[in-house]
């Protein structure tokens, strides 16, 4: 299979600058968490639940000036194409967890909630590339649902470079395995990045084109999330006014 054919089509039929199907819902688990969301980015499916701000169970988690964000990531055994058990201390999971914690510590207005803990649980149901990006989006939505003050949306997407020349947006697993890719999280409509992760080598002179397409993609995702949030908000408003 050609990852990117000379005719300009990718392995799943998209063009270079097209996102995968993006669907999201918020307030999916109103009874079990303060905020919750469900995100599908292509075949990557994620549930996220937020509890807090609440009193930390451990003294060590207390920060006198700001809130503490704690992220727990769990990947379902059936999320990849082969069933596989992962230990909780898997290095990759720890890394995802730390990355998310750092990103959202910066984006939440923590000074409003001193001495509290915000606990985020991310459950991955299916993986098909763009895991970190989808997680970022899910966490953003769940935090919004929980009513926690943030500076703006953090919308994530990944992008890669095919054959050192063509930048491709929103890679799936097949593409991710075969090319260098980076994941970004953009703050709102700006071009500020709350998150950049690049684990392979990417030629410096191509970085700009990859970043440009990724930022454009993130803005589109922010719009889609915003539509969902507003739709949900209107629905609740309608209920209250009745």
């Amino acid at each position: 299979m050609e990852l990117y054919s000379p005719e300009g089509l990718r392995i799943d039929g998209r063009r270079w600058n097209e996102l995968r199907r993006f669907e999201c819902k918020i307030n999916t688990h109103p009874h079990s968490a303060d905020g919750s969301s469900y995100v599908e980015q292509g075949n990557t499916k994620i549930i996220c639940m937020v509890r807090g701000p609440m009193e930390p169970a451990m003294k060590s988690q207390v920060n006198a000036t700001s809130s503490t964000v704690e992220v727990n990531v769990s990947l379902a055994n059936f999320s990849t194409f082969e069933r596989k058990k992962r230990s909780k201390t898997d290095k990759r999971i720890t890394e995802l967890k730390t990355t998310l914690e750092r990103t959202f510590n910066e984006c939440i207005m923590g000074h409003l909630y001193p001495r509290t803990l915000i606990s985020v649980t991310v459950q991955v149901l299916a993986q098909d590339g763009g895991l970190l990006a989808a997680m970022t989006n899910a966490v953003t939505l769940a935090l919004i649902d929980a009513g926690i003050a943030m500076y703006d949306y953090v919308s994530g997407v990944n992008a890669g470079l095919y054959d050192q020349t063509s930048a491709l947006l929103d890679l799936n697993t097949l593409e991710e395995n075969d090319m260098c890719s980076l994941t970004i999280g953009v703050i709102g409509k700006s071009e500020k990045l709350a998150l950049v992760v690049l684990e392979d080598k990417l030629p410096l002179d191509r970085l700009e084109s990859v970043l440009a397409i990724a930022i454009a993609g993130s803005h589109r995702i922010r719009e889609l999330m915003d539509m969902e949030v507003r739709k949900h908000g209107n629905m609740r408003l309608a209920k209250v006014s009745v």
Partner: protein, 987 residues
């Protein structure tokens, strides 16, 4: 299983879910998304709608519309597009590449993917066809198109579903172009060789035809019929009704995999012996000695240089390598190619023909009678599978004996004898066998079923009369896989628009971007020294004395990379050609003429861009300082070696230029001495030069190449520059610097030669401890009575050496960079970018290293570099072989006119013949025992390398290794292979 179809803003989405059982019994879940869209154009100029829906790709390019609005017509005047099926591409790719048919072809994506899964090389050829645009091939992504996507129905096999998808493409194009839009009707023809698929297509109202029917419907169908591959015309017709297996079947894939895993089977490349086409060797890492494969049954249909799987034979069948010469010409030349009844009787006898059996019997007798030392025994093996065929285009000619006299119009089988005598002859079917007699023809091998004694192939095209210079030249270029077609238009488009009028911009204008960072060296007294008549001058030199008494020496190399930018069509073409090829009467350029002989060539009296290496050297040629820079130079004079030599030797010439050349000569001698002291080898090859008559361009005489002091002057400084540059780029790019290494020869290579020297020349030997020791020992091997003997040994040692190779620096450790022949620790090629691609890469890397420009990514990526290196190593080798065979051919032509007796040396001894090298012509030839004397009384003493026999006059005679003999040299045309070669007769 398709779960849902959902409309999105950008198109449709289908999610497909497939469950596959994995090896250990667990279920694997493969879920893939598949997006369908409505913006895939039909690429036809005749269409008005699709122009509006196109979208740009990642580079911002809009898709080009390729299919012509007035396509080619059939015999009945129907203009048509063609949709092709997978089996047509897999079997008849040559026909698709043919320029006489198949224009405006639509390749459905389904077909493309099937081709890719079945054969990657064919896929690449197809992709190249699409890319080159001149045959108007397009890939239509039907799987992603809303209108042409088909679901797999319940119980439908994947193949049936794909066939359905392909048919859908044909019917979609039909309705899209004809009923919906185009003013002129364009017929869609679906070509498919699957009967079932054809019938279904016809039911759906598609004009489906088999390949044969389609070719017949073309105006030039008659000429094209012979080009249809044999297995498509009449599948299985060669076998007749003969069912007996002639060759053992290959093992199944599973068995081969298991065998390799548990160590009972081995994989390697088959090397057929050049003296015995029934004997081959396979080198396998598991064994020190190569595995011998003897006899056609054990060779089991493998071709020379196929990648094969072998199985070891029991130890009692281990043998010594045969010391008998067997050529295919002598055996089985009279076999009948036809598949008539009476022929079957003979063929059922098995693989071994009578003559062959005689040889084998002699072999067996020898093996049993002479129970010599065990150590000579070599493990033998048989081939049980072929991993990858090395099949390509082959050049040969029809064996006259296989053409029947009848003048029927139906196609008949005949044999084609290939030019490469290591390969078996090939059976083809053609109606024009008689026309092709006496011509060089190109064929392709299609298959070799186990019940056929010979492989089956088909005719591609004819090159012309045998022995006409054009046909022979083209044949040898094809045989050595040299790309000789003129440069395509998109390559030529990369050249500067000014063409021949391009000039170096004015140096006084500092704003010019071309001149930034370039150094003006036009005041230096630069000159070039090359062979007479050289037009592609890629190097020039200068020297001057500095005020402090040291010397400034500069080597200036044509700045090819100024014109050849990475990732252009021009660059890709150069990379794939890899090197220029020099034949006696022709030069096949790596880069277009305009660059090679004009814009890059450092012609005298004009400004040229150059890449300069400038050293400061002291009196003893030690480097004090070295600088690399892109520059502008102006050569003062272009000398030939002789002119330069005369000028230096003439004491009345005292101008500055001559003096600077004297400085260069003085320094070059010091450099050479230094190299020799370090142990550089002075090896020899029997190089000759052919003089051509200037009027008729007929070859006239052969001359052994002469070397002047000025030759070595240029050579020394080029080596010097190469070494300096190698260090610099390795410094900057430790992983990907393009370097050249020459591995020390393994001791086993010299075993036989040393043994021969020891036996025949009283204990002389070649020492192998270091290159220095080798060089010294070569100097010691002299025969006081024969000055040529030393050269002979040098020639023979050269053949024992490893070949030098290009490599990216990351693939070896630093100690292994060593160039054994030149005795330097690091080396590269920098000085001939016009004719070698390696130098182009090195130029770019050096430009990157000195900060002139950014280095292209492809030269910074280890994997890409590996690919480049692999290709240029291959091209380099092929170019050498092609050059040699060209000389061989012309030497043969020269000898045709002057037969004489000459001195020769015995360089190989067999029990039924000897090989003699004639230094005068640089040719070597086989003298068979039967032409020298009586076969029966001959006795070959293997330990002493002596062949004793009674000659034709009845006298006892002994010929031994290294003996100087007098031979009659004449050139004869081999009737079977049509090749002219030197025939030697012992006096």
């Amino acid at each position: 299983m398709i779960t849902n179809r959902k409309r999105l803003s950008s198109g449709l989405s289908v999610t497909s879910k497939v469950f596959v059982r994995s090896r250990n019994g667990n279920a694997l879940k493969i879920v893939r998304e598949h997006y369908l869209r409505n913006d895939i154009p039909c690429y036809s100029h005749a269409c008005h709608k699709c122009q509006e829906i196109v979208k740009p790709d990642a580079q911002g390019q809009l898709p080009k519309f390729i299919l012509s609005s007035s396509p080619t017509k059939t015999k009945d005047g129907v203009s048509h597009y063609v949709v092709i099926d997978t089996n047509i591409i897999l079997h008849a790719i040559d026909l698709l590449e043919n320029t006489q048919c198949f224009y405006d072809v639509i390749v459905p994506q389904t077909v493309l993917e099937e081709v890719r899964n079945r054969s990657f090389p064919i896929y690449q050829r197809l992709r190249n066809l699409v890319k080159s645009e001149d045959k108007r091939f397009v890939v239509f992504h039907n799987e992603y198109n809303e209108a042409t996507y088909v679901n797999r129905e319940k119980g439908q096999s994947i193949n049936d579903r794909n066939d359905h998808a392909i048919r859908k493409v044909a019917s979609w194009f039909n309705s899209h172009l004809n009923t919906e839009n185009s003013p002129t009707p364009i017929h869609i023809i679906f070509i498919c060789n699957d009967v079932d698929n054809c019938t279904k297509a016809k039911q759906e109202g598609i004009d489906a035809r088999s390949l044969v029917d389609y070719i017949d419907s073309l105006p030039n169908g008659e000429d094209l019929r012979d080009l249809i591959p044999s297995d498509i015309v009449l599948p299985g017709n060669f076998e007749g009704d003969q069912n007996e297996t002639v060759f053992p079947e290959y093992y199944s894939n599973a068995r081969i995999m298991a065998g390799i895993k548990n160590g009972t089977l081995y994989q390697g490349m088959l090397n057929i012996s050049s003296y015995n086409y029934l004997q081959g060797t396979v080198s396998v890492p598991a064994f020190k000695k190569p595995l011998l494969i003897i006899g056609s049954k054990n060779l089991n249909r493998a071709f020379n240089s196929d990648s094969v799987i072998v199985e070891l034979l029991p130890k009692d069948k281990w043998k010594e390598p045969s010391s008998t010469i067997i050529e295919e010409g002598s055996i089985g030349a009279d076999d009948n190619a036809g598949d008539d009844e009476d022929d079957l009787g003979e063929e059922t006898g098995g693989v071994v023909s009578d003559k062959e059996r005689v040889f084998l019997a002699q072999e067996a007798m020898k093996a049993t009678s002479s129970k010599t030392n065990e150590s000579r025994l070599q493990p033998t093996a048989k081939i049980v599978g072929v991993v990858r065929r090395s099949w390509r285009y082959y050049v040969g000619q029809i064996a006259p004996s296989s053409v029947s006299e009848e003048t029927g119009h139906s196609s008949r089988s005949c044999f084609v004898i290939l030019m490469d005598k290591l390969l078996p002859k090939v059976r083809i079917r053609t109606r024009k066998a008689k026309e092709y007699l006496g011509q060089r023809i190109v064929i392709v091998v299609d298959s070799w079923p186990s019940n056929s004694r010979y492989p089956n192939g088909h005719f591609v095209r004819t090159l012309g009369e045998i022995e006409s210079a054009e046909a022979e030249t083209e044949a040898l270029l094809l045989e050595h896989d040299v790309e000789y077609r003129p440069f395509s238009k998109n390559v030529l488009d990369c050249l500067p628009k000014e063409g021949d009028n391009w000039v170096v911009p004015d140096m006084t204008d500092p704003q010019d971007p071309q001149l930034k960072k370039r150094v003006d060296l036009r005041d230096r007294l630069v000159c070039s020294i090359d062979p007479p008549g050289c037009v592609d001058i890629d190097d020039a030199l200068h020297a001057r004395v500095l005020p402090n008494g040291n010397y400034e020496v500069g080597v200036h190399i044509a700045d090819v990379t100024h014109f050849v930018k990475p990732n252009t069509a021009l660059d890709q073409e150069g990379a794939s050609r890899g090197t220029s090829v020099y034949l006696v009467d022709k030069r096949i350029d790596m880069l277009p003429m305009l660059l090679g002989t004009n814009l890059c060539s450092l012609k005298p009296f004009v400004d040229r861009f150059a890449f300069s290496v400038i050293w400061e050297l002291d009196e003893n040629a030690n480097i004090l300082k070295v600088d690399y820079m892109k520059s502008v130079i102006k050569s003062r004079q272009a000398f030939s070696y002789e002119q330069a030599q005369l000028r230096i030797d003439d004491p009345t010439q005292t101008d500055e230029l001559t003096n600077s050349m004297r400085v260069l000569l003085k320094l070059s001698k010091k450099l050479k001495q230094g190299r020799m002291d370090a142990g550089a080898l002075n090896l020899a090859s029997p190089e000759v030069k052919v003089h051509m008559d200037s009027e008729t361009s007929d070859p006239q005489e052969v001359e052994i190449k002469k070397l002047l002091e000025t030759n070595s002057l240029v050579e020394e400084f080029m080596l010097f520059a190469n070494i300096s540059v190698a260090r610099k780029i390795y410094d900057s790019y430790p992983q990907t610097a393009m370097l050249r290494r020459h591995a020390p020869p393994p001791a086993t290579n010299f075993e036989t030669l040393n043994d021969m020297l020891n036996v025949r020349k009283n204990g002389m030997s070649i020492s192998l401890e270091s290159s220095k020791a080798l060089a010294d020992s070569l100097d010691r091997i002299v025969d006081p009575n024969d000055p040529y003997f030393n050269t002979l040994i040098r020639i023979m040692s050269t053949r024992c050496m490893m070949a030098a190779e290009y490599f990216p620096s990351g693939s070896y450790g630093y100690p292994e960079f060593r160039h054994y022949g030149l005795a330097v620790d690091i080396y590269t090629h920098f000085t001939s970018p016009i004719r070698r691609y390696c130098d182009v890469v090195v130029h770019r890397q050096l430009a990157g290293a000195i900060g002139y420009e950014n280095l292209d990514l492809s030269h910074r990526d280890k994997q890409r570099m590996e690919m480049i290196v692999k290709n240029i190593n291959k091209r380099h080798r092929n170019a050498q072989f092609a050059g040699r065979s060209s000389i061989e051919y012309y030497v043969g032509q020269v000898m045709r006119n002057n037969e004489a007796e000459h001195e020769g040396y015995v360089i190989k001894c067999f029990n039924n013949g000897i090989v003699v090298l004639v230094p005068k012509f640089g040719v070597e030839g086989l003298i068979k025992l039967e032409t020298m004397g009586d076969l029966a009384t001959a006795n070959y003493n293997e330990d002493k390398y002596e062949l004793t026999f009674t000659d034709l006059k009845g006298a006892q005679r002994t010929v031994a290794m290294f003996d100087k003999v007098t031979v009659d040299v004449k050139s004869v045309k081999d009737e079977v292979s049509g090749k002219r070669r030197a025939q030697l007769m012992l006096r």
